[in-house]
Symmetry: C2
Subunit: 449 residues, 2 copies
């Protein structure tokens, strides 16, 4: 029979167990911070009526999104980000939701682009938004969440902040016509990528472009940047910085950068961007204040503020930083099948009942093969019980990292492993057991991750 090649699409991925352990670790940390700051999770559909995803872009939208006709002739699209589905969700549900409404969303999104290094067709985003308030407290809180997330993930980072209102005021002050604001802002946004000359080249038709860029470029400190712009209205940025202080945000994390624009034209107030100093990967997350998110769907105008975390980029960078070196699979113990199968099953039942993640080897293979299995899975403890141990009410634990093994009373097994588990490998129980048998050297077998 002809076989079908078990392939996947370029730009999509199979996640192996260890990948998932890393991804879940990071996702849970991010989720924990979101929840601590009172954001609640929502989920929106993956198959959507195309117009709710593409809006009025029509054929242009076709290019970047996956969209198709279903069997009933309905045009379907898959979300390309979480902002548009959230806008649709809020437009449809705002009357029943508390106001302001704080949500987080962690889902896959799709881009029908040619996949390249770092550009995927299917990937995760993590977004938070606070909608229904224009108070700067919400902007500051969003930046606080960015900082707490990036701290929790061990990044060396800063958060660049700016005000789109301030950029607009400065551009107007230099006589730039309003209809050119977006193109000028888009050019300035590329400063770090293409350098000063590159930006000036793009601004060749703009008068005073050199002066504008000079004015916008951040100075050595936030204070000096503020001083240099003292003739403009800085009340928004000053209130934001004052809120930061009250919220316990250390100065070192915030860089006021009047060049920061965050491309998208729907931002209307504060904009911000979390930037890693660990590499030139750059931006880890970005967001800002918008005034009319749901405009495509309803007449009501809702002001809000949000940020999207680039989950895949964060994972890549953490991997590079070596942050995953202690990540292991779920099983903390392998119970071997040795002389008495039922005895192994009883141990399995007992250890899982004690809350210990473990597994039983399901074949009567040689102990050598079973140990190889434990080694391949990175399982730290192997439980062995032959007729001698059963007769003496004992059990032997083999520590895979050191290769050592020890025999302890059978009724101490759960406690022994639980203590390891709870102490995250800080071997207190082992030390205690060893203290009773001074001839046996302390075995530091495993750092629990």
């Amino acid at each position: 029979m002809k076989k079908i090649e078990p392939k996947i699409l370029k730009g999509t991925r199979d996640f192996m167990p260890l990948d998932m352990a890393k991804r879940n670790l990071v996702m849970n940390k991010i989720r924990r911070i979101f929840e601590k700051f009172g954001y609640d999770q929502i989920e929106t559909p993956i198959i959507c009526p195309a117009e709710t995803i593409l809006g009025k872009y029509g054929d242009e939208g076709n290019r970047l999104t996956y969209n198709f006709d279903d069997a009933g002739g309905r045009r379907i699209a898959l979300p390309f980000d979480l902002t548009v589905p959230f806008a649709r969700y809020y437009a449809s549900n705002w009357q029943n939701l508390p106001k302001p409404f704080k949500r987080y969303q962690i889902q896959r999104v799709w881009r029908a682009e040619k996949p390249q290094k770092g550009r995927l067709r299917e990937f995760y985003q993590c977004d938070i938004d606070t909608i229904g308030t224009s108070n700067l407290i919400a902007d500051t809180e969003t930046v606080k969440v960015i900082i707490e997330v990036l701290k929790e993930l061990n990044f060396d980072f800063k958060v660049k902040v700016n005000s789109r209102r301030l950029i607009n005021e400065i551009l107007a002050g230099f006589g730039v016509p309003e209809e050119k604001f977006i193109s000028v802002i888009t050019a300035i946004d590329k400063l770090e990528k293409i350098g000063e000359e590159g930006v000036l080249k793009e601004l060749s038709e703009i008068q005073n472009s050199k002066k504008i860029l000079q004015t916008l470029k951040p100075k050595e400190t936030n204070k000096k940047t503020l001083e240099s712009l003292s003739k403009y209205n800085l009340s928004e940025i000053k209130e934001f910085l004052s809120n930061c202080k009250a919220l316990g945000i250390e100065d070192k994390y915030i860089e006021f950068d009047p060049c920061l624009a965050r491309g998208l034209d729907y931002y209307t107030g504060m904009v911000f961007e979390g930037v890693s100093k660990n590499s030139d990967f750059g931006t880890l997350c970005g967001g800002g204040r918008y005034d009319n998110l749901c405009g495509m769907f309803c007449d009501e105008k809702f002001s809000g503020v949000g940020v999207a975390f680039g989950f895949e980029r964060i994972i890549l960078l953490l991997e590079k930083m070596g942050e995953f070196k202690n990540v292991r699979l779920n099983s903390k113990a392998l119970i071997t099948i040795f002389e008495n199968k039922d005895d192994s099953l009883r141990i399995y039942s007992q250890l899982t009942a004690s809350g210990i993640n473990c597994e039983v080897y399901p074949e009567p293979d040689t102990i050598g093969k079973q140990l190889k299995f434990a080694d391949k899975k990175g399982i730290p403890f192997v439980i062995i019980r032959g007729s001698d141990e059963i007769e003496n009410n004992q059990v032997t634990i083999k520590f895979m990292e050191s290769g050592k093994q020890k025999t302890i009373p059978f009724n101490q097994l759960s406690t022994y492993l639980t203590n390891y588990y709870e102490n995250q490998g800080r071997d207190t129980e082992e030390r205690a057991v060893d203290a009773a048998k001074p001839q046996d050297p302390i075995v530091t077998c495993w750092r629990y991750s």
Copy 2:
């Protein structure tokens, strides 16, 4: 400007924050059990080459799956279950995976069916499989996991078990030709749905159909069922039941039902089904042993065993059972904006740093409006600090459930809330505080969920 209706497709859903809290609660419980038994998570792509999902079904497959051509002319399909993507994954990766391989997978799947009550186009499944061993230990472990999950979720349930080999042997014994096994099994599978007469009608062309059905029908106890079938080979089912005993599975959870067939023709050994007694919703999960899962993709034959949980049905039933009545959103405290905004922000920073899920109200609205907000979100504590409290280093906590409030020293706030949080509302701290002020009645304000 013409607005786009913010609608979603029938058979897909927006999940509100409280929906997600419930779903996450259940998902985390399920996940926790899977992990305790050494299953590791994997994830497979959502957009897939159509042939890897549809196999050789071609146009017939079209009817039930979402599939379409992408811009590059590739035929794409969305998974309709997690079994086929897992078979594809294993065929593609088995050489690098430990053997046996235990994985769990929790993802959405799609069915291009006309949506009806209880039939969705987009929904979640939770699957476990152990592949690469034919030992009955794996089958028993799978049933153990089913039992632990359904116990953890508070179901009143039983797990029906049977052996496809045994059915085949019985049918052969009654002279049913092998090519009719599947159709007979399919008919018998409907016993609970269409009754004995219905089944017999479907079996009208089969000789001895009444005797077959009589033989297959379970007796009052497993022991009696076994006795009634003593002339058949019962070694598989007996070894399974012996394993159950060693794994600590109580007899009451297992019903040996020789009628159970689990329709699908790829099962070859043990089959099982978790059934709720709480309602006629019936099946909560189903699975079994298969011998050639990856046959569509490769020449190697892998034996395995697995079970799929019907997540959406489980959620519906738990809701009916009232299991979600204590589920709340994330915020445990609302910090009001009263006389001093910066003071509120400092409290916010302090409480979140103590690990308390909370939020600050972001507008200088009236206290009445802020309390209404807390009420709408089901936030149990509201923190109020006016100039009096600030002057006296105090803070007032309003308990939303009882409407009472009390003023405590400011530096006790985190501890006070943390104790509530850690004691899951078993108000120890409050009792202690109240004990010091006997005039103040004990306020039982909130059962933390």
